[in-house]
């Protein structure tokens, strides 16, 4: 693996599309390859403008992303796009549709597009997609656009570790959308009402304003923008708002604070996946669960047993893991 990475990493840093694609596949596959790759590329990250785009199905997110990417290209800025679908374990219809729509960008080497969907491993997608953002950042894309399909806690988790979150909605979703808005309100930095040529756009804007006035926010008041992405209307304003937000983050010191929070979330996710993997290696999660089930043991006791097993077994093994840390410490 190390030999492969020795070859892959320099090519990725030159933004060679095949190297970027290969690196994302390594991240999707997980394991030691992923860890080593992120370790090597992490020092090269921190330059891209990382933007999450989320909102309910049918809001026109992928069209908006497509038009944002085109406009960036007109300015000669490069764009990496990740479309993430936490609701679907398959590479389902929605993502395929996006891909077809975005096809026109494929031949442009200044744009890289990739879809990611859950591959069995529950909960691993937020980590894998964030690692993929790091790769695109390290590869030198000026913008990284992380688009989610659908809306829910898992989508929120996916976009939670980006610099700026654009929440896209459409007029006429009605009262039913209130529940969705409530969950998403606190992470939105920019609101976009897409399909703004439709009836009900003023009401949608008023509803959002009302919700904003009820919720808490710091110095940054999320702007509410109107777009008709399919006709390329309002796209420049969206990019400008994202850039203003980024300037605000930098000037206020909020960017560092946010990135600390992001690091924390990522670290916790890795810890969680690691304890389950270790428990599985040491005692076998399946075996202990089976035993617990037969004896009608409650889940807390079964977890106690697995946790204890890991603690005892890892005491020696862990030395190998801690040493590279010590090397790095000042």
């Amino acid at each position: 693996m190390r030999a492969n990475l020795d070859d892959l990493v320099p090519r990725l840093l030159e933004r060679q599309p095949r190297a970027v694609a290969r690196a994302i596949s390594i991240v999707e596959d997980g394991g030691e390859g992923q860890r080593e790759l992120v370790r090597r590329l992490y020092p090269h990250t921190g330059k891209a403008r990382i933007v999450g785009i989320t909102g309910p199905p049918g809001a026109g997110k992928s069209t908006l992303v497509d038009r944002m990417a085109r406009l960036c290209r007109k300015r000669d800025e490069t764009v990496g796009i990740l479309c993430v679908d936490p609701t679907s374990p398959y590479t389902g219809g929605a993502i395929l549709g996006d891909r077809i729509r975005m096809q026109s960008l494929y031949t442009d080497p200044g744009v890289f597009i990739r879809s990611m969907a859950t591959r069995g491993a529950m909960g691993g997608l937020a980590r894998a997609s964030r690692d993929a953002v790091d790769l695109l950042d390290a590869a030198g894309f000026d913008w990284v656009l992380l688009e989610t399909v659908g809306v829910g806690q898992d989508e929120v988790d996916v976009v939670r570790t980006v610099d700026s979150v654009v929440v896209v909605t459409v007029p006429g979703l009605g009262d039913d959308i209130q529940a969705i808005k409530a969950g998403i309100l606190e992470i939105a930095d920019v609101f976009v009402i897409n399909k703004a040529d439709r009836e009900g756009v003023e009401r949608a804007a008023r509803d959002l304003e009302m919700m904003l006035s009820l919720g808490e926010h710091g110095e940054w008041l999320p702007p509410i923008l109107k777009t008709v992405a399919s006709r390329e209307e309002g796209i420049g304003e969206v990019l400008a708002a994202v850039e203003r937000h980024r300037e605000h983050l930098t000037a206020s010191g909020e960017l560092d604070k946010r990135r600390r929070g992001h690091l924390r979330l990522r670290v916790e996710t890795i810890l969680k996946e690691r304890i389950v993997a270790a428990a599985d290696r040491v005692l076998g999660v399946e075996r202990e669960v089976e035993r617990g089930f037969e004896q009608r043991t409650d889940p807390y006791r079964v977890a106690d047993r697995l946790f204890s097993g890991v603690i005892h077994a890892e005491e020696v093994e862990v030395e190998g893991v801690i040493s590279p840390m010590e090397e790095r410490a000042p």
Copy 2:
């Protein structure tokens, strides 16, 4: 805490509403109280019919749940209802609305209703709500109805550990709903098209049938039912379908298989929360993240350090945890 539980547990087993309410609050608060409570009540669980009700906002889930509960009461069966909102950190509008609508059931001691929303602790809601289901089961409710607000991976996680999942949809959601359906398809045991007096009901049924024919399912083919919950139409059929599903689970041996899977999910969730709590106690997650941020250390290395810290520190401490396990082992 133990003294409190000595008093609380017998009252909960008698289904005293105030004891049930108090027990759920303990579960929401987390910590050792929650663990001890679940340990004590777990041997009393396994009798209730546990049904999850999920689907997009506006599908009329709470009305359906309300009518199902009324019908159960007419049959002299008791019902515990949990309304879970993973998308909202506040006890928001949606849940409040449900409560008001369900108010008429409140005076009936055969019905217990409780809302649960995320309380800061990300990801803890699926565990807490499942523990609350155990409490209602132990309290002797014939039915436990677990309703989610919204749709997404987190809602899927909440209903993943129930016996039967009812997915509610409505006519006319259009193509946009495809993405949602795809994620939810594999967990549905019964489909309900609510508001079936609306136009488009036949198309919605055809769409669902099509998706079912494309997807994989075992011996149980999820039925597609039509209801107008607000007029109490089709409710008996929903209960009958759930009962048929339950019979199928028992007869086929699938119930045990499912419950093993549920135990596994719960155990893994507890393990994950525990490693983060331990890392926080031993080294301080905040402190290590801060240090990692300053030194531009990648998240995998920061996680390595925390994990190692827990392994070394817990080696002695953990003995106290393992002993009650050993007592219980045969």
